[in-house]
Structure formats: structure tokens, C-alpha cells
Subunit: 362 residues, 2 copies
């Protein structure tokens, strides 16, 4: 990897040739990735400034502000308990202050907060900053589906890559071996962007792959959850390993075909060969809340909104949500029947079709 | 699919336009596939003769010949207990008699019996017969690796396709949803061959895909077991879902690269998109004896030959066997280091390298 470095303003206002990193978000995944970025900023002190800012949405933790607790204990006891963050990761309750002078921005917020955060940051980020989106899901607006890297790029006017992969946060935080994938934009700037983030994140136990396909990497992270619902149905039905593997294979190819049909610059191997594609699909269909709730849906006969209350504390399930969004998108274009697995998931989850009909519809 | 049909000699010696099917083998998978072939021979009575011969290696079953028990009870109580075979599947203890006048031969024997069976059949099969190999593994001879479809084709002088997929036999026998893949030869004859076998096997719960890649389909079935050993190591080490998915992804790409480097006519999508490729890899790395023994190897510290005795009744494990064969093949060509996952599996299984070193070698 190249050690591309750009001039940036240091926090003291003087010019520096080192990159200043800000992590925008501090949930389970945000804290895990801040830990890696913190370690690598120290390891590659030729490229990165030592201090890594981490924006923390301020909330109370046992009577004290969470950001203060993190800075005193070097741990995020609310979202990543038991995992020590390096001292150079500094929690900051002001997002505007956290990104001040930053040349590298890592967006790792829950998707419902991304628009409001971008509005707050507009005009306040370094126009030459590099950004990366680790946000799960896609934005659906006016019947269109947008990836968050595009949303961020448009809102802030800066280049944005995407990172996704078979990355259960708690495993990454324990340095258990993982791979991940950065999808970047075309051209020199896109590649430089990816190489910088490669250097910020790659470690011997968190191996970063790079592919020129920001949309593919982003869509994998959203669409896999729909396939995980189908895989969970097969678990609930007790159909065995052959059926589950078949559903995963068919789902992977629908994910790829959907992305190729409706997005530009998709590389098929993003789906079939990268950690963001086939590997993340495997982890998501084996473990994960989407699979689990879909299994319970079949076994208990309870509707998904009730299971969300019982199993997820009322949080919305991404897979059924994305299945609905994809269905509406396809319906508006008269293409529902071209994606039989997506259609079957929607019909079973929302239209009362018997889950036993899953494979007869493929 | 076309309903291609060829002239053949019927068992009475008169010419018939229908295909006569013989299944060479009657183990767990052989019996499951004979059941499907029997049903489809009846369903497509325009294409197939009603009777399906099934060669049974004669052995004693509770004081009676197994073939006789199968023909009286329409069940193979030894290898597929509890599953009714259709009445038109006829067990035959003579392989020469079973294939007499057959125009379609299904080879589904344990690989150690294939050479002796081919020798016995030489000159005794219809020279226009179509064959398909469902034999797991590869033949290693004089430092070379051959697929069994080639071995059969050369020994008997007839066209041979290959069938492989995410096909746990007991699940297929219960009509649980499965997919499978036929890999066929180039040209019209290869395609006709595949279409005939498609018609013989495809059902609403056993969906057959076709690809022009007999070597790729065969190699998937052999090499996946090496990857399953690596996946089992990660289970034994308790490394979690990220690491296991990463090892599966890396393994899938090594399988593809190995096949592309050393075999002709390989299609990459056989590995990344078919049931024989990615789907079978998933089932094999999730369940299966290779995964299980590799997990036990790490957890107990016992050598594989001891685990084979304890867990497999002394049967040889395919994954470690194939890892050794692939290693010798690569060593003879100075290419061991080009396949780090295959190398790591070999080193851990045979050279006493600590399984913890698995991913540091990738």
C-alpha cells in the first residue's frame, strides 16, 4: 500500500503532513473500529496524527456523561464493555468539534442519524477530507434507493468510500481473525482514499481488502439481511443444511443481479469473492438477529413486530425492513417477479403467505 | 430442457427409443439418487424405460443377501434405512448384468472401487451410453490428479459428466429442498448428456443446474473438504464467525485458483455461483465429518488417525487425505507457497504446526 499523505491543519492550526482522524459514531461497531484506528495511528505515526477523535452522542451512564466516562476509563461501558480503548482515542460529545481539521472521517452511525449529522456538519468539514461509510443499510427516499456513501458525498462534498465485511464487532474488538472490504470510487482520488483507510484499519487480525466498487460493498451490507430472513425461515421449517445453502446461494445471486440492474459500476466479484459479499452473507445467515427472528417467526407464528418487541427490545429488524423497501422499489418498476427470493421473503413476512411456500417460489 | 432420446436395446433385445438407466452403486447417496431416478423414469415415461437397475455390492444383511432384501422390501436397510425406493428400482448384485443395454450410467461408488469396477465393465457397456460421475474425491496417480469423470471416460470410452452439490443424502431422500449441479463436456454431445441427466434427476425439491465445466464441478467436490478442515480448526480454536467465514472465503478462492491453474476449461462461476461450489462449501463447513474431526483435533490434541478410529470407525477422512494429495502435487511443481490455506491445513494436520498459526499463514 502507498503511504499517501496530504497536508492538513493540525489541531493547533499549524500545517502538518499527517492525517487527522475523526470517528463519527461510538456504538458497538464504532468503538471497535476506533480501537483499531487508535492503535494504527500510533503504529503508523509517519502518516497519522496520534490523537483520534471519536464523536460520542452524549447520554447518561450511571449518572455521568458517557463521553467523560470513556475518556476517564478508556472503555465504552455502554456499547463495548470489557474492551480497552487506546489512550489516544478521545471521546468528544460535539460532532462539529470532533471533525474540526480532520482529514479522514469515519462514519459509523446508526442510519437514522446520518442525515441530521450531515446537516450539522455541512460547511464544517475540511473540503479535502477523505470519508468512509460503515453505515449498515441503504437510504430509501421518494421511491429510490441510495447508498450512504453517496448521501455523505453529496451532503458534504467530499469523496466517500464504504467499508463492510464479515465483522461481528465484539469478535473484532477481541482481535479474533476477521477480514473486511473497502469499496472505493473510480480514479486516482478514490484509490488514494481506499489506501489511506487501508493503512488506518489493516492489522494482522483485521485484514482489509480493497475493490473499486463502493455501491457493491454498500449494497451487500444491506441486502444480505433479506437473505438472512429467508435462511432463518429454512431453519424454522427444519429443512436442513441443503435447503439453507441453496437459499443462501440463490440469495447471493439475487443480491448481485439486483445491484447490477439498478446501480452503476458494480463488480460481480464484490458479491461472490469478497468479505463484504459471500463471507458476510455466511456469518449473517449462520448467526445474527435477522436469521434468529425469522426462525422464531416460523416456529411461533408470531408476527415480526411482536418478535421485535420480544427479542429485540422493540428495535426494527433490518432484514424485513429492507425486504419491504426493495419490494416497493421493484414494484414501482414492475420488476418484482424478477427477484423470486426477495419476493418470497416479502410475501411471507408481510402478506401472510405460508413459509412452506418459500422454495416453490424460487 | 430438450427431451433428447436415443435408440437403445431394451432388455428383451429389441430396439427401443427409450433410455435404459443403470445406477452403479447403492450406498447412502446411491440409494437416494436411485429413488429420484426411479420416480422420474416413471414420470417421464416417454424418455425412460420404466425399470431402473441398481448395482448392489452384495453383502450379508441379517443372514440374507442385501440385494434380495432391497428387492423384497423396496428399502436399503443398510445404507438408507427408513426410505422407500420405488418398485421400478431393481437391485442387481452383478454390475455387468445391471449395465447390460443401459444407455445411461450413473456412477456413485466409493472412489476406491471405481478402477476395479471399470475394469470389470470394459467392453461390456453400450458404446453410445451416457455416463455421469457422482463420485466424491479425485484420483491421484503418479503425482497427477485426475477427476473420476475422466477416469471413467478413458476406461470405458463413453462421454461422462459430473454431478455435485450441497447434497446431504438423507435430506435429499426425505425430499427436503436441495439444489445440485451437473458439469458437462464441451460440444453438442456433452450438452445432450447433461440434458438427459437433468431430466432423470430434476424434481421440484431437487433442482438441477447445468454448467459446461466437468472438471470444476468434480474439483469442488474434492477440494471443499480441505477447506472444511480449516473451518473445523477455527471452530476448535473458538475463533468465532468472522474467522470461519474468512477461512471459507479464502478457501473458496484457493479452490478456484488451483483448478484454473492445473485444469482446462474451468469456469470461475462453478466455484462462486453454483450449488457444487459455494453452496456445497457452506454445508460442508457447517456440518460434516471433516469439520467435526478438525474441531476435535484442536480441542483434544489427538492425531487425525486416532480421531478416525474414534469418530469414524476407522474410515479415512477425505479432507486430510486430499490435503496431503494436493500438497504432494504442489510440492512436485514448486507451488506449495502459492496456496497458503492448503499449505496451512497440511502443515497443521501432518507437520505438527500449531493450529493457532492458521491465519498468520494466510
Amino acid at each position: 500500500m502507498s503511504s499517501t499523505s496530504h497536508s492538513s491543519l493540525s489541531s493547533s492550526g499549524s500545517t502538518s503532513s499527517k492525517h487527522k482522524v475523526a470517528i463519527v459514531g461510538s456504538g458497538n461497531w464504532g468503538s471497535a473500529i476506533a480501537r483499531i484506528a487508535g492503535h494504527n495511528a500510533t503504529r503508523h505515526s509517519d502518516t497519522f496524527e496520534r490523537e483520534v477523535q471519536m464523536y460520542v452522542y452524549e447520554e447518561d451512564h450511571k449518572g455521568r456523561p458517557l463521553s467523560q466516562v470513556i475518556n476517564e476509563t478508556h472503555e465504552n461501558p455502554k456499547y463495548l464493555p470489557g474492551c480497552r480503548l487506546p489512550d489516544n482515542v478521545v471521546a468528544n460529545p460535539s460532532v462539529v468539534d470532533a471533525v474540526k481539521d480532520a482529514t479522514m472521517l469515519v462514519f459509523v452511525l446508526p442510519h437514522q442519524f446520518i442525515m441530521s449529522t450531515c446537516r450539522e456538519l455541512k460547511g464544517k468539514v475540511n473540503p479535502k477530507a477523505h470519508a468512509i461509510s460503515m453505515i449498515k443499510g441503504v437510504e430509501v427516499k421518494n421511491g429510490d434507493i441510495n447508498i450512504f456513501a453517496d448521501v455523505i458525498e453529496e451532503a458534504l462534498g467530499i469523496t466517500c468510500s464504504a467499508l463492510s465485511g464479515a465483522n461481528i464487532a465484539n469478535e473484532v474488538a477481541q482481535d479474533k481473525f476477521s477480514e473486511t472490504t473497502i469499496g472505493h470510487r473510480e480514479g486516482t482520488k478514490g484509490k488514494q482514499n481506499a489506501e489511506l483507510f487501508f493503512k488506518l484499519f489493516d492489522t494482522p487480525t483485521f485484514k482489509v481488502g480493497i475493490i473499486e466498487d463502493v455501491a457493491g460493498v454498500s449494497l451487500c451490507g444491506a441486502l444480505k439481511n433479506v437473505v438472512a430472513i429467508a435462511a432463518g425461515f429454512t431453519d424454522g421449517l427444519g429443512w436442513g443444511d441443503n435447503a439453507k445453502a441453496a437459499v443462501m446461494r440463490i440469495g447471493l445471486l439475487e443480491m448481485k443481479r439486483f445491484s447490477e440492474e439498478f446501480f452503476k459500476g458494480i463488480k460481480p466479484e464484490t458479491f461472490t469473492e469478497t468479505s463484504a459479499g459471500v463471507a458476510d452473507l455466511i456469518t449473517t445467515c449462520m448467526g445474527g438477529r435477522n436469521r434468529k427472528c425469522a426462525e422464531a417467526f416460523v416456529k411461533t407464528g408470531k408476527p415480526f413486530d411482536q418478535l421485535e418487541k420480544e427479542l429485540l427490545n422493540g428495535q426494527k429488524l433490518q432484514g424485513t425492513e429492507t425486504a419491504r423497501e426493495v419490494h416497493e422499489f421493484l414494484a414501482a418498476r414492475g420488476k418484482v417477479d424478477d427477484y423470486p427470493l426477495f419476493k418470497a421473503v416479502y410475501s411471507i413476512a408481510y402478506e401472510g403467505i405460508d413459509a412452506h411456500d418459500l422454495t416453490s417460489r424460487l
